[in-house]
Amino acid sequence: MNWAAFLSNYIFAFIVLNVMLGLMAYMTYFERKVLAAMQDRVGPKRTGPFGLLQPIADGIKLLAKEDIVPKNADRLVFLVAPLLSFVLAPLSAAVIPFGGTVTVFGQEVNLYVADINVAVLYVLALGGMGVYGIILGGYASANRYSLLGALRSAAQVISYEIVLGLSLVGVFILSGTLSLVQILEAQQQPLSFGGVQVPNWYILSQPLGFVLFLIAAVAETNRAPFDLPEAESELIGGFHTEYSGFRFSFFFLAEYINMIAVSLLAATLFLGGTDGPIADGVWWLAAKAALFLFFYIWLRTTLPRFRYDQLMGLAWKVLLPLALINIALTGLIRLWGLGLL
């Protein structure tokens, strides 16, 4: 066991996790500020300079709130469900490559926590497991309507997870691998069309895949136009109605971590992660991820909500066929490229 490599990797993982949690907290602040700016108002400004301490204030408020467990709730499952979705959310950042390898104090440190050769499948698996947080939350609240709301959002997440997976197959065909590190390297070699240096980002060669991935990612995290099961909580009571206090904030913050994780994934897969015109580096990845986060918030301010049947219809009748067509096309082009056609 090469203890030094393990230790450095562990420290890097520790840093990534803390950065993710910090980003998550300030993502709420970022969202409220951008939302306010788009709605012609100011947003949180009182707590600390420019309202920067707002996330901490929210955290303390939620901590101080009474943590009610309904009487006929299934106690154990009720307590575990939010933890499940909160813990699984940041794990998907483990496979995101934040850069190449760097020598620190003479020690080789590679700027990714783990390079699994099925990295994208690992992220999909985490998404699949995340559904359990929602379902168990709804079931354990013993409230008939939060159960219905939970099952609805579970059905939505499963349908869009399929679309998510299939929309990425195009990228796998082009890059020939599932590991994000190798996908990043594949995107770093610039292509040259008649002297024009074009970065080989997959958004250029996979536009349809990119759009499908974006829509499915927004739906997967129950955000913006696809937040019907939660919004319909006015009628039915979404899965986290019975939760209060810090337990509720687990669900609430898990959503934000999911958003950040998916934005990082999208930036790495389609916009060439840390690859940038001037100096490659993690700041490019951060800029691209911020672009996606802004897109999330932009959707939330402008678009109204889907109705439940339109939402499911969109997934199965529109996005899935498009994803399959995208795979077929990419496959044909790939074969034509290899001359095997």
Partner: protein, 241 residues
């Protein structure tokens, strides 16, 4: 006892205990949760065996999709008309016990006497590494030797989905009973009055200026005075000029 074997023993033990939990739990949802735990442990064991693709597939397919649908059924169906797990007449229980013990005996015999030993297939670790990892290896084998089985299972799954769709189709779409027949009014409007003579009155003459095109393929008709369109409301597609 290298670290791997130790971890394997722990995971194996948890998986077996969880499997036992599936059978013993009174609440069906708890037994489903136990099943989730055992699936995750099996996936972890796959990872130890360097079969990451299988581990990811196990979690995505089994726990992520199939078990979620099982949970759907368990939660949506009322607990009281779920089949009784622990019931069953004494004769059945006795028979079940005997068969169970027989199965256990066979398995233990096979394991203890080491008669079942897998033959090493063509894919030695070096061959797998040469191809670029077990995902690539799996892909090659799957789509070279086993293309026919894949097509057959695809058709089978398609048939199953269509069957499910037919079963779940709502019986007959209800047409909304129009309230008009009880309280019809005789504003000389074809659908208002009882259409005694069955003839629909002519469309009202529409000056071009009166149409105001709007987004969403809709037109608003602008009435200049209180007397326009009084005998015939502007209704329906007929005004797509």
């Amino acid at each position: 006892m290298s670290a791997e074997v130790l971890v394997f023993d722990i995971l194996g033990a948890i998986a077996v205990l969880a499997a036992a939990g599936v059978v013993l739990a009174r609440n069906p949802v708890h037994s489903a949760l136990a099943l989730v735990v055992s699936f995750v442990n099996v996936a972890a064991i796959y990872v130890i065996l360097r079969a990451e693709f299988l581990a990811a597939a196990q979690i995505i397919v089994y726990t992520g999709a199939i078990l979620v649908l099982v949970l759907f059924v368990i939660m949506l169906v009322d607990p009281d008309n779920l089949p009784e797990f622990h019931g069953g007449r004494p004769v059945q229980r006795l028979l079940a016990l005997i068969l169970g013990l027989a199965l256990l005996g066979e398995v233990m015999a096979a394991i203890l006497t080491r008669t079942i030993v897998g033959q090493p297939g063509p894919w030695s670790p070096q061959a797998v590494a040469a191809v670029g990892g077990n995902t690539q290896a799996l892909g090659r084998v799957l789509y070279s030797g086993y293309v026919l089985p894949i097509q057959v299972t695809a058709v089978l799954l398609l048939a199953a989905t269509i069957g499910a769709l037919v079963l779940a189709r709502p019986d007959t779409p209800r047409v909304r009973a129009l309230v008009r027949d009880t309280a019809t009014i005789s504003l000389a409007h074809p659908r208002g009055s009882e259409m005694a003579n069955g003839v629909e009155p002519a469309l009202p003459a529409l000056a071009a200026g009166q149409l105001k095109l709007e987004a969403g393929e809709r037109t608003l008709v602008m009435a200049k005075s209180g007397d326009d369109f009084l005998d015939q409301p502007v209704w329906g597609e007929r005004h797509q000029s």
